[in-house]
């Protein structure tokens, strides 16, 4: 680390560094009061009609090394620095929603309560000022920010570097420790060099996905200097290639994410319909119950959305499983061997459950809060970022699938279920209590629907119609994958998700859905037993 004293390569750097250091000391209130008069002088320079005056005032604010400077500059940039019409005081708008805006005094920071927006005048800025402000703020950030905000700041200056800022950036580059930030700074400087006509600068820009880099390269590709234009074109072609790969990766990600939602919604059905042969049209409503459980848990534990969501996983399973047992005992057991009647009766149950939620809770959608650790996204590169909630749902779907696989393949229950479905009479004569197995299997399938609901509450609106929108899709997935085959459900769900996402860009969401439906209808004509048909005697009937 060099000391700030050796950094005096340019006037702006020095001032920004001092400013930055002062920011760190901002908590010292004594300093603030001592500087109040100076602060007022520089700040009021902004209150002018001419943009040239304002540019000077901004410069003055930077030079003043006032610790409130970043606050002011940021507010000015955001359009939140405003003038009270009655006494000309400058204030910072805290929240500009509605008609009355809460404001605080720009100098003292005192809260001034709510002021009608009519009584405020915004300090306007133009594009030149905006870029001046951005450069200044990014430089401050580059010195005082943590690695993440330094990275964002370095990215922000790409394409906006002038000679003065370039000198400052180079100085900062010497000191920067993070490779990623250095890489971005180098790119920012290379764009600047390219703009001045250096063909060699292109080397640094290969494979960059930043949109400003692309703009600079496109401009350079049309330059009169053949060498520069040629180099820029080659770099652009390389970037295009990379972008294409990214788009494919993105489509795949969204497809798999949608697929995992389908798998989650259908996997419970794969147990009740696929393995047991019971058509449960109320399956969608069991999903809905799971989603409402997530909502209810968050109402019970206000302020802890994450914990509530985690607790909702077992509770949602139980709620839906119990509802499933009630349906099995109350309706389905009387309709054994009459699949079409079962379909109708469970459809009736689904109507009742929907209306129950509408009457008891509300016909409107409820919001389930996404906990902090699930929001945001992972940026793979500049063009591709993966949203975290979808990633979690994807993982959850695979987890549920694996658990179900284990239950069906490795536990006594799974063995008994398979025995009862293959030959009920034989299984019973071997001492398996078939009725008990029926109840447990149905409870398992229903419980999994509840889990799906908890996961879906993170992706879609939670409302009385939630289940209805998934029931047809779920049946499609199970039938497409092959009834009675859990692997089939996984493959079918994932591939339908991906197909849908591939079709969507050029067909539109609705048409893509229609095409997928038509595809499945035609597919079932060709292979009535799905992708992975069951073999042997169990397949009949």
């Amino acid at each position: 680390m060099r000391t700030p004293a050796t950094l005096m390569t340019s006037s702006i750097t020095a001032r920004i560094v001092t400013l930055a250091l002062l920011c760190l000391l901002a908590w010292l209130p004594a300093l603030a009061s001592a500087q109040d008069d100076d602060g007022r002088a520089v700040l009021e320079g902004l209150d002018s009609r001419s943009f040239a005056d304002k540019a000077e005032a901004i410069e003055a604010i930077i030079q003043s090394e006032d610790e409130r400077a970043t606050d002011w500059l940021q507010a000015l940039l955001d359009g939140n620095l405003q003038r009270l019409k009655e006494d000309g005081r400058l204030v910072i708008v805290v929240d500009n929603v509605g008609r009355e805006w809460p404001v605080r005094d720009a100098l003292t920071g005192d809260e001034l309560g709510e002021v009608p927006r009519r009584d405020l005048d915004r300090i306007t800025i133009n594009n030149a000022l905006r870029s001046q402000l951005r450069s200044a703020l990014s430089m401050v950030e580059l010195y005082v920010g943590d690695e993440r905000s330094r990275l964002a700041a370095a990215e922000g200056v790409i394409g906006r570097v002038d000679d003065e800022l370039a000198a400052a950036l180079e100085a900062r580059l010497e000191e920067e420790e993070s490779d990623q930030v250095r890489h971005r700074l180098n790119q920012a400087l290379a764009v600047h060099r390219l703009e001045r006509g250096e063909a060699g600068a292109v080397e640094t820009l290969y494979g960059s996905l930043n949109s400003n880099v692309r703009v600079a390269l496109t401009r350079a590709a049309q330059s009169d200097d053949a060498q520069v234009a040629d180099a820029a074109r080659r770099a652009l072609a390389d970037i295009e290639q990379k972008l294409k790969l990214n788009r494919i990766a993105e489509t795949l990600y969204f497809g798999l994410s949608m697929g995992s939602v389908l798998v989650l919604a259908a996997i419970g059905l794969a147990i009740t319909f696929g393995v047991m042969g019971v058509i449960n049209m109320a399956h969608g409503e069991l999903i809905m119950l799971g989603a409402y459980t997530a909502w209810a848990m968050q109402q019970l534990l206000p302020g802890q959305p994450g914990l509530a969501l985690l607790l909702a996983i077992p509770v949602g399973f139980l709620v839906s499983a119990l509802a499933g047992i009630a349906i099995e005992r109350g309706v389905i057991q009387f309709l054994k061997g009459r699949p079409l009647e079962t379909l109708l009766a469970t459809f009736g149950v689904s109507l009742i459950l929907q209306q129950l939620v509408r009457t008891a809770i509300s016909p409107l959608n409820r919001t389930v809060i996404t906990p902090e650790w699930m929001s945001g996204s992972i940026a793979i590169n500049d063009a591709l970022s993966l949203t975290l909630n979808r990633l979690y749902v994807m993982g959850f779907a695979l987890l549920v699938f694996a658990a179900l696989m284990l239950v069906m393949r490795r536990t006594r229950l799974g063995l008994e279920v398979r025995a009862v479905t293959q030959n009920r009479a034989m299984a019973r004569s071997m001492g398996i209590r078939a009725t008990r197995v029926d109840i447990l299997t149905f409870a398992l399938g229903s419980g999994v629907a509840g889990l799906a609901g908890v996961a879906l509450s993170q992706l879609t609106n939670v409302g009385p119609n939630l289940g209805q929108s998934y029931i047809i899709d779920s049946f499609m997935v199970v039938v497409f994958g092959g009834v009675g085959n859990l692997w089939g459900t996984l493959v079918a769900g994932m591939s339908l998700g991906v197909i849908n996402q591939v079709l969507e860009p050029w067909a539109g969401a609705v048409l893509a859905k229609i095409m997928v439906l038509v595809f499945i209808i035609l597919f079932i004509q060709k292979r009535p037993r799905g992708l992975f048909p069951q073999k042997g005697r169990a397949a009949e009937g």
């Binding site: 379909l343 109708l344 009766a345 459809f347 149950v349 109507l351 009742i352 049946f475 209808i521 004509q525």
Partner: protein, 376 residues
């Protein structure tokens, strides 16, 4: 045409036709002859409502034909009903002529609104009544022919068939919601003015449509009854009860299935065409899977494989719906859902089953083989 004469020798058919004729006559007389002030007077609104019920009854008969006698639980008959309705709607739309909001003599309002400059090819010809009425039969018939050909040939049956019929109507609903389809999108077709030159808003036209629905129901009933009592009908029942065995006996099962399925779809289309001028609108919600499955409930409540049961079921459920949604709209879905459960669990043969038991007890003999099979 022996098969069409045969139903008239049955006591049940004559009874059904007699009751229907009696009902139509009574409603007409009460509407025309009884003065408006009298409490017995049936107003135009009620006549219109009854007309709607009758078109629903025809739809239920069509579903009963395939479900009751062929064992195919179609959860997509609403699609055929809606297609017939759209064909009629297109005719009525063209009849508006230049009296629309935009006054375009060629294009319906919604097309002008979408900035279309000419009529799409599939709207050609719908200004002629005969063509439109032919399409009422052909559009659903053709869809049923293609869909049924594919499905029955590859032996998709049972629950699988039910689910893909549901997917079919769902896909059609999504398509008709799109403005680009050229059927008015979300809003569908509405603002009709006249049919065959008669003003749709006059009470006489309403009465006429009510009577036409009654006549169509009678005709549809006779056709269905004729089919199920013919040899072909026996093969259908055999297919329903043991498809593989029938096939081994040498019958080309899929042909019988296809024929009856197409007839049923056409009847549903006629029902839709009668329904649309009476309610004055057709939109994609008629394609909703919920509606299709509701039709099945009418049949189940009335009693499968009786045909007259379907009529009874359609009228009971729809009357209940009118009453419920007027008095306490929230309770309707509870009632509907409860009906689904109760009928399937406690009343597998429906209202007609209850009637049949009484008749049999009085007569002391057994019912037709059809009813015995359903009960089993």
């Amino acid at each position: 045409m022996h098969w069409l004469v045969h139903p008239f020798r049955e006591r049940s058919t004559l009874l059904f036709l007699g009751v229907l004729l009696l009902a139509l006559t009574i409603v007409t007389l009460l509407h025309i002859a009884v003065p408006r002030e009298q409490p017995l007077h049936v107003n135009a609104y009620t006549v219109n409502l009854f007309g709607k019920y009758l078109s629903y009854a025809l739809l239920a008969v069509a579903v009963d034909l395939v479900w009751g006698y062929l064992g195919i639980l179609s959860l997509g008959h609403g699609a055929f009903f809606a297609l017939g309705g759209y064909a009629m709607g297109m005719y009525l739309m063209r009849q508006i002529g230049d009296r629309g909001v935009y006054g375009n003599p060629e294009l319906p309002d919604f097309m002008v609104f979408l900035n279309w400059d000419s009529l799409p090819w599939y709207w050609q010809g719908f200004d002629m009544a005969w063509f439109a009425f032919l399409m009422v039969l052909l559009a659903p018939g053709l869809l049923a022919l293609i869909f049924g050909f594919l499905a029955f040939r590859s032996r998709v049956t049972g629950v699988y068939l039910s689910i893909i019929t549901q997917a079919l109507t769902f896909a059609l609903m999504l398509s008709f919601f799109r403005n680009e389809m050229g059927f008015g999108g979300n809003n569908g077709l509405t603002d009709f003015r006249e049919i065959l030159g008669f003003n749709l808003r006059s009470n006489d036209t309403r009465l006429g449509l009510f009577l036409a629905s009654g006549a169509a129901l009678a005709l549809g009933y006779v056709v269905c009854r004729g089919i199920v009592t013919s040899k072909l009908g026996r093969v259908c029942v055999a297919t329903r009860d043991a498809e593989a065995r029938t096939r081994f006996l040498g019958y080309r099962v899929e042909r019988f299935q296809l024929f009856v399925f197409v007839v049923s779809a056409m009847l549903a289309g006629v029902a839709g065409a009668l329904y649309v001028p009476q309610v004055g609108i057709i939109n994609p919600s008629e394609f909703a899977p919920l509606f299709s499955i509701e039709i099945v409930l009418w049949v189940a409540l009335g009693g499968r494989a009786t045909l007259y049961g379907a009529v009874i079921g359609a009228i009971i459920v729809n009357y209940a719906k009118t009453v419920f949604t007027g008095v306490m709209p929230d309770a309707w879905l509870f009632a509907l859902g409860g009906l689904f459960v109760l009928v399937t669990v406690l009343l597998p043969r429906g209202v007609a089953g209850l009637l049949a038991v009484r008749v049999r007890r009085r007569r002391g003999d057994d019912d037709s083989p059809v009813n015995r099979e359903v009960a089993a």
